[in-house]
Amino acid sequence: MKERMVQLEVMRYNPEVDAEPHFQHYEVMCQEEWVVLDALNAIKESIDPTLSYRWSCHMAVCGSCGMMINGEPKLSCHAFLRHYEGVIRVEPLANFPIERDLVTVADDFMDKLKRVKPYLIPKDEKSLEQGEYKQTPAQLMKYRQFSMCINCMLCYAACPEYALQPQFIGPAAITLAHRYNQDSRDGGRLARQEVIATNEGVWECSFVGACSEVCPKAVDPAGALQQVKVASTLDWFKEHLIPGGEPK
């Protein structure tokens, strides 16, 4: 099995000791097929057990190992070492406060996620006896892409609007709201519009498009946000130009 010595510069921050983060240099023997997360695990196991970072599934499903790798938001379980040359710089996800080392504080995102009501609010309540809420394949395809989000927050780390205006609800949360708004079984759009069709919602987005470029699941949050803008604009015209055209 092919091995090579890999050099990493990892951002460290110990809130009990450090006034600000600093970089620590590591050299670790890695196998050719390893990803950055494997290299971090090797460091933690054999060189420095104090290194802190989040991870769980190691297969780009749980969304917990997002980091800045050479300045780019990436899932560290999806960033193959063979794609990097020289020293690999690993930092915590940008635009989030650092809790410790590579661990960020995700509270802001979690709060915003709750605000957009990311769950099905049935249009017509049914009892269990009345059976399931049925949907055609075409109705499913309308929102399927947006349901692939794993809440990894890479899109927030790439978004300069979120960096400059932290009150921005942000790409993933608005995309998830759009996912439920597009669902034929859902009746909660008006409630979500109060959160997402606002200055802190889609109108804070200036369509940089970085969120879609870094998304590891090809969700295309930038697309979702532009579609919410179009739908909200149509709402405004209907409400102001057509008698009785208020969104229901």
Partner: protein, 130 residues
């Protein structure tokens, strides 16, 4: 153990130099200055037109000078960049679902170019150029 999260500073002015994709975005946004300049020029042109044919002709003559020509060429280049960069992202905002599939983005982008071309031809026809 007390928490002391560290907030990294964000540059309010130089952030777009941090990644080529941000510079690409800014190159699109900056073009609006030139689009604005063209809009202003059109307003001035209307005002001159309202003052009679002689005033309007001298206004047009002034626009044929080398600096005016250079300025108009710059506006044209930036206006084309603005238009094409927006056309190229339209499939994101206007997806067209056909049953279980979505129409390929190239058709949505292409339709914008076709409408653009036809509109340009119509304007040139009204102006008596073609």
């Amino acid at each position: 153990m007390s928490r002391k999260p560290f907030v990294r500073p964000v540059s309010k002015t130089g952030w777009y130099f941090k990644h080529p994709r941000y510079l690409r975005y800014m190159s699109r946004e900056v073009t609006c200055i030139f689009i604005g300049a063209l809009a202003l020029l059109m307003v001035v042109a209307l005002e001159r037109l309202s003052q009679g044919p002689a005033v309007f002709d001298s206004f047009l003559a002034a626009l044929t000078g080398p600096w005016s020509t250079l300025g108009l060429l710059l506006i044209l280049v930036f206006a084309v960049h603005n238009a094409t960069s927006w056309f190229n992202v339209t499939p994101k905002a206007l997806p067209v679902q056909l049953g279980e599939e979505f129409l390929a983005g190239k058709y949505i982008v292409g339709a914008h170019y076709v409408v653009w071309g036809l509109t340009t031809l119509a304007v040139l026809w009204f102006a008596g150029v073609v």
